[in-house]
């Protein structure tokens, strides 16, 4: 059978296209970005009239998807795990509205924090919202699950969460494609109040979500993604969730003798779990994330059979799994390894040669020498790398948009001046509201909006801020004399220092916009224009 080689992310994207998708909305975030990027590139999606777009943030994406669903069509929303925090309000309530056209949310978790500020496990969100969760074991699963997810979403009137982790997202494998489903026709919800979550209506809908829980569980028991694989050695049983199954099987090239409960769909299949539990002496739980299943299985008092996993130290409490970690938990002998030689030196990521941020920070560092250290609140993007040597310019990076609001809090606590440094795309993602708070409080805060015209860290996606930043700031009430645009190039170093210093001296909200195109997108643009 013909196979095409796709990243896990791309398999999800193609799976959605083949499942009759009408719209995908997303804000880029590692390791989820390539899903929407693939659909944006896909000729098939374009010819089929599939709407694919980057949006200002994950919450607006999620809400647009609910709108698509309202109109009867199938919508996909993709994000990284922390993006689900931003989308959480809409996400939780979508579980109560239910769907008209199917809604699938993909949340890509990043255990070991390869490119993230935490390693939260999105399955808790699925459980919190009480909706079905799918956790593909491999790239083929990821593809196949998309059509099932949309079909189930419509059949059971509920959004479906797909949870993946970095290694599945960013690993390629050969995929066998399935049949294609046509898109839904435009169709209003049968019940005109379905999407009106007034308390009286929401109470009824919430009861129906609760009443549907046994149906969700039945899907988990019967659909075939969860499997109870019997084994003759009952001294141990292993529960795996998602890709942990692969790390287990990697340790048994000749096949495994222990019974295995392979989980790829939630809520947990309780009948299967009961049968498995009763048949084995002890249990090892392998999850590429938080110990969600393990914790539930043990319960508060841990009165049942011995359960090994992340909670008793058989597996590390944090970080992603790999074949060696699982081998150790199984008591397998680890093959002898070479030691890493002492000459090997750390090579941390850094701003690119010619990056405009370097020039912005070089000027800012001079200014901050005057005011004293510890006053620069930053945000999430390439420019966060200025926390490291050689620049060491910034003092915070917490969540999207937090630079501006943390600077306000610190300024009001007496740290004057306080400076916020935020990228253009992060500014429109979550910085606008904080800036309005600053304006309303007349807070003595200087905000540097580093405008490189793109969403750089994730690979140069369209920034929703491009061409609008000054108007937005003035519109929010920043005095137009204190919205200053500078060009961060070496030649302007002295002048840029002067502008920054003037604005820090101003006792109110000021915005400085260092504007120069990202060196990577500039290079790509020049190469593309040469080709033409």
């Amino acid at each position: 059978m013909q196979k095409i080689v796709l990243l896990g992310d791309e398999a999800i994207a193609q799976g959605a296209v083949d499942a009759g998708l009408s719209a995908v909305y997303a804000y880029p975030g590692t390791p989820s970005t390539e899903i929407t990027e693939y659909i944006l590139r896909s000729k098939e999606a374009k010819n089929g009239g599939i709407v694919a777009s980057w949006t200002t943030n994950e919450k607006t994406s999620m809400e647009m998807a609910i709108g698509t669903s309202y109109a009867g069509k199938r919508a996909l929303v993709t994000m990284k795990h922390v993006g689900l925090n931003v989308a959480a309000d809409a996400f939780m309530n979508a579980a109560i509205t239910g769907v008209n056209g199917g809604i699938v949310i993909v949340s890509a978790d990043d255990p070991s924090m390869h490119s993230s500020q935490n390693e939260q496990d999105s399955r808790y969100y699925g459980k919190f919202a009480q909706i079905p969760i799918l956790e593909p074991v491999n790239q083929q699963d990821a593809y196949d699950m998309m059509s099932y997810a949309f079909e189930m979403s419509e059949r059971l009137n509920v959004p479906v969460l797909i949870r993946i982790t970095t290694r599945l997202a960013h690993s390629r494998a050969g995929i066998v494609l399935g049949e294609k489903t046509p898109q839904n026709e435009l169709k209003l919800p049968k019940n005109s109040r379905q999407f009106v979550l007034l308390p009286g209506i929401a109470r009824v809908q919430y009861k129906s979500l609760l009443a549907n829980q046994p149906l969700f569980e039945k899907e988990s028991e019967e659909k075939g993604y969860n499997m109870l694989l019997d084994g003759k050695d009952k001294s141990l049983g292993v529960i795996t969730t998602g890709i942990a199954y692969n790390y287990l099987m990697e340790n048994f090239p000749e096949g495994i003798d222990f019974p295995v409960l392979k989980i790829a769909q939630y809520p947990m299949p309780l009948k299967m779990l009961r049968e498995f539990y009763d048949s084995v002496d002890e249990i090892l739980v392998c999850e590429d994330g938080y110990p969600l299943v393990e914790e539930q299985l043990k319960g508060y008092l841990d009165l049942g059979k011995t359960v090994h996993g992340r909670l008793d130290g058989a597996l590390p409490r944090d970080g992603e799994l790999n074949p060696n970690i699982v081998a150790k938990a199984l008591g397998h002998e680890i093959v002898e390894q070479y030691e890493t030689p002492g000459v090997v030196t750390q090579r941390p990521p850094a701003l690119c040669a010619g990056c405009p941020h370097t020039d912005s920070y070089t000027a800012l560092n001079v200014v901050m020498e005057y005011y004293g250290e510890g006053r620069v609140f930053s945000d999430i993007g390439c420019y966060t790398l200025a926390a490291l040597e050689p620049l060491e310019s910034i003092n915070s990076c917490v969540d999207m948009g937090a630079s501006i609001t943390m600077a306000k809090g610190a300024a009001e606590a007496g740290l004057v001046p306080s400076v916020a440094v935020i990228g253009d795309s992060t500014f429109t993602h979550s910085g606008l509201t904080g800036l309005l708070d600053c304006v309303n409080a007349k807070a003595p805060v200087t905000v540097l909006i580093l405008d490189n015209g793109t969403t750089g860290m994730t690979g140069g996606q369209t920034s929703q801020a491009t061409g609008k930043i000054e108007d937005i700031c003035i519109g929010l009430g920043v005095d137009k004399d204190h919205v200053r645009v500078i060009n961060p190039i070496k030649k302007n170093h002295e002048e840029n220092i002067k502008v920054m210093q003037e604005e820090m001296e101003y006792n109110g909200v000021s915005v400085v916009i260092p504007r120069r195109e990202c060196i990577i997108t500039l290079g790509a643009r020049i190469r593309a224009s040469k080709k033409k």
């Binding site: 080689v5 390629r172 050969g174 199954y245 790999n322 390894q337």
Partner: protein
Amino acid sequence: MQKDIVLGGVGGQGILTIAATIGTAAVNKGLYLKQSEVHGMSQRGGDVMSNLRLSSEEIFSDLIPQGKADIVIGVEPMEALRHVKMLAKDGWLITNSIPFKNIPNYPEIDGVIEELKRFPKHVILNADQIAKDLGSLKAANMVILGAAIPFIGLELSDFEGALKMIFGKKGDDIVNLNINALKAGMKEAEKFL
């Protein structure tokens, strides 16, 4: 047949082109493939690696177990050493000898090369020079891949086919340059057999 290959380099050095070439050659042969990559923050000049697994049987893990890689390929010498934990005791270490210095404390290159030579099975080559002699420094990656071909278990013709698929749109000159680079790398590797 099963081959586990770790590729190491610096973000922006193009290890994904090597990975894509091996991957395409393997899939064309009807082999199973898993190829995990690094995206995101580390791509900004940090160290990056790719795990490449080819097999005639189904492959489970996207990650190669430590100490079990058949080959570690370094596009850069210190990055080759960074991943020797992955290398099997009888595995091959294949690397470019030319350092990529984007950190202030890059170690003395002589010491790095000396460490590389301690591995019983190694191929160390100046891929940059060989590529320049062929007409373009950009082909250095394919020289390094060429040096690994004798150990991967696929034929040169498999890789030629893959290069035609990957670079075909860019014209015959680019395809031929890359094929010549593969051959030059292979020839260099024979000196170490």
